[in-house]
Amino acid sequence: MIEDATSYMQSVLESYRKDGLHAIAVTDRDGVPLLKVADAEIPEHALRQNFLSTFGMATDQANKLGIGKNKLMVFAYSNIQIILFNKHPLLVTLIASVNANTGLLLKLEEQLHSLVSCISSLVDA
């Protein structure tokens, strides 16, 4: 079944590749991946656990801002942007070119919601 889920993610990545999307990762709060797809343009360290795990901590801190639960975060660097969806107990991370249409990529949350909900039971909350 992972091949189906992975190939679905791969097809989503292919659909948005022309829009600048380079990688999608679905991980637990510690950055351990459940599903991960990427193209060759991603820096090697971008999908490592010690980098992905920081997102879980950032989301937890953002939850304590006093403005409700954190839903998403966008980090825009010089060449890359990272979009993070908080789908507790999972995290969905998108890595894209900084020139990619952020608004378009934010819509990916709806597209991935069903699959992420389905596999979230695998992770302890």
């Binding site: 189906d4 510690d30 795990s53 304590k64």
Partner: protein
């Protein structure tokens, strides 16, 4: 420092608390066990008819500590949370195996191709209707141009100088 957990660890009384001192250790395990120990030491023999009361007090204390712990923001932990390699590999292996077994409905995995007119019953009638009026088209164009120019003119209104030049002498 006088916080409710300062008696938990005797060494914390001796050492000066600093920016890295954790005020709350692990509220899930430490406080409950320490609470039990403290109450036994404080009260000596625990007599039967107050055990239930102590349990209520301890659970209330535990709840309060849990609430506080949830609100504590451990700024030091943000950049140093790394799993052991073997634990990472083990977890990844478990996830991979579990995803193999979990049933994901085909309705989710099937890539949906968008059909633009799929909910329109009489497509020919709609498509052969006259297009929008020229006035509407002009309205749309003007509104879009106005929005675009408004967007490009978002800027700070300069009223006073921000920098004070300190005169010499």
């Amino acid at each position: 420092m006088g916080c409710c957990c300062s008696t938990e660890d005797s060494s914390s009384l001796q050492d000066e608390p600093n920016a890295h001192t954790r005020l709350l250790q692990d509220p899930v395990s430490n406080s409950y066990q320490t609470g039990l120990n403290n109450s036994a030491n404080e009260y000596g023999n625990s007599y039967g008819n107050s055990v239930a009361q102590k349990t209520d007090d301890q659970s209330a204390q535990y709840k309060v500590l849990q609430q506080i712990a949830n609100k504590v923001i451990d700024v030091g932990a943000l950049d140093c949370q790394t799993l052991e390699e073997h634990e990472y590999a083990e977890r990844a292996r478990v996830y991979a195996q579990s995803i193999n077994k979990i049933h994901i409905p085909q309705s989710i995995l099937r890539k949906k191709k968008p059909f633009l007119l799929m909910d329109v019953s009489n497509a020919e009638r709609i498509l052969s209707a006259p297009p929008i009026s020229q006035a509407d088209y002009n309205l749309m164009t003007a509104a879009t141009e106005n929005l675009s120019s408004a967007y490009h003119t978002i800027q700070v209104t300069h009223t006073k100088d921000l920098v004070v030049s300190l005169g010499k002498g």
